[in-house]
Amino acid sequence: MSDLLEIKDLTMQFGGLRAVDALNFKVKRGTIHGLIGPNGAGKTTTFNMISGFYKPTSGQVLLRGEDISGLKMHEVARRGVVRTFQHSTLFAELTVLENALIGTHMQFRPNIFAAIMGMDKIDRKAAHDHAIEALEFFGLEGLTEERAGDLSHGHQRALGMTVAYASHPDVMLLDEPFTGMNPEETRQMMGLMKKLCEKGITILIVEHDMQAIMGLCDNITCMSFGKFLAEGGPSEIRNHPAVIEAYLGGARHVA
């Protein structure tokens, strides 16, 4: 398995605060990679730098060996790295189907002249089919005409994933996808993520729900106070003394 995404000496400085300090890790193709750490460890900042939301102070994000750090978010997306947002960030005023259709934007780039002349019927049909297929994958096909803002919390999270999935990404960056879900919903979502992974999508996930992370990830990177702490499989991380110390503080006494 080759490295799809490589984070090299990534640093983000907010004024006097070094939120992420020379972070290094690699994400292998076709795996689910977890990024964990206590609150304020810099996980979301790292995410924002990979997805192009922030421009890193220094360091590189390499996608298939190409440096994508500092590119705009839509440019990163067009290279196949698509993210979801914390909470339920959706087009709340639009319908579920329209949300999914926006996800197909990159594949079926709208053209204003074709739209006026009515020459984009094939594209529109294909985009529609594609959006429906993505909605079916996440079990939302019965809700296409609902307003996205009216959906239940679980459905909104699923729709957020649908929008990302509809754009046919190579890498999906999921920012706390299990927040506010009950155990049953979490279990379902984990199943869907495994299915995504089987479809060849590489997943990088930031999450606080340890049970989900441990059950899902092939590889976990743990960070604390902006610095790399440990990396390994779920069992390694669970028993890693530095990780336990970071989460519980003074693990030595416990041991």
Partner: protein, 325 residues
């Protein structure tokens, strides 16, 4: 089939409409038709969530461009009108570079400043813009005949027919744009620009596209105006006119395509016909302001919300009737 019938009736109604009006009302009707295009194009810009205060000046760019090419270069007037639209779109594209570094309130103020700069340029340069007095004796639309009807463009009725066809065609294009994936992307840029960007939407490009297209149609409306009244000056396109456009859009509501058009028609009828007939000549701006404030207070979703409510009630009535059967 039913739609075709409705549109046919609308067309017949528009053909007959000016013949039931007085001469001054026919003139108002021409201005109303032009303003409908102006406010409908403004809505396209607001789709991306940006409200500009420079729209009327952009309309003026179209008016000046069309007037100048027909006057100085002798370009055939319909071609000049098209050129006016293209010029507006071009100027808007250039303005988008500084303006779209800003968003929301800052964009609003920035667009006002940009508009004032253009207006002051017209005032400052007597050649070719004619300075503060503006351009006079702009070529009118040349007369022509289509067999059953002789177009004499000094008659407001003829010019109304011409405008109605042009504006109707432009509205059809605007409608097609809004209902297309491009329109959907505009909505997406408005409601959640970050998520749209994460889906690969180039925000700058789409904001600029909406701005340029909206400006192009505003330019066409300005050109239509210039060739009708025959004289334009920088004050024809000042902030006062912009306030009218904003009032139409706000009172009408911007959630639907027809909202701003409805606002424009209702307020024009109210302003020009009802209030003028009732002899409130001096009080009209005051009453206009009061209408704006009360519509924000009591009808925050605009006149269009009344239409939507009426349609819903009608549909429910129909359903109950068919259920009773």
């Amino acid at each position: 089939m039913r739609n075709l019938l409705i549109w046919g009736l609308v067309a017949v109604g528009l053909v007959l409409l000016p013949h039931g009006l007085s001469f001054s009302q026919q003139e108002i009707l021409v201005f109303l038709t032009i303003n409908v295009l102006l406010v409908a194009s403004y809505r396209l810009l607001t789709l991306t969530g940006e409200w500009s205060l420079g729209h009327v000046v952009i309309m003026g760019v179209g008016a000046y461009a069309s007037a100048l090419v027909s006057k100085k270069l002798g370009v055939y007037v319909p071609v000049a009108i098209l050129f006016g639209g293209l010029m507006s779109a071009l100027i808007a594209t250039l303005l988008s570079f500084p303006l779209f570094r800003m968003k929301g309130f800052y964009f609003l103020i920035g667009s006002f400043a940009a508009g004032e700069i253009i207006r002051l340029l017209w005032k400052r340069f007597r050649d070719p813009f004619g300075g503060a007095k503006g351009l006079k004796s702009i070529d009118p639309m040349p007369d022509f005949s289509i067999g059953i009807y002789d177009f004499d463009f000094f008659e407001p009725v003829s010019y109304f027919y011409f405008c109605a066809v042009v504006v109707g065609f432009c509205l059809w294009i605007l409608w097609r744009i809004e209902k297309s994936p491009v329109g959907l992307t505009f909505h997406a840029v408005h409601w959640q620009d970050k998520l749209a960007e994460a889906s690969g939407v180039n925000l700058r490009a789409y904001r600029t596209l909406a701005f340029a297209v909206a400006s192009g149609f505003a330019g066409i409306s300005g050109a239509l105006l210039a060739h009708y009244i025959g004289t334009i000056n920088p004050n024809s396109f000042d902030i006062e006119v912009m306030v009218f456009v904003l009032t139409w859009a706000i009172v009408g509501g911007t959630a639907t395509f027809y909202g701003p058009i409805l606002g424009c028609i209702v307020l024009t009828i109210l302003n020009e016909i009802v209030l003028r007939e009732m002899g409130f000549e001096q009080l009209r701006p005051l009453i206009y302001g009061a209408i704006l404030i009360s519509s924000i207070l009591f009808l925050p979703d605009g006149l269009e919300s009344l239409v939507q409510k009426a349609v819903r009630t009608l549909k429910r009535g129909n359903r109950q009737r068919s259920a009773a059967k």
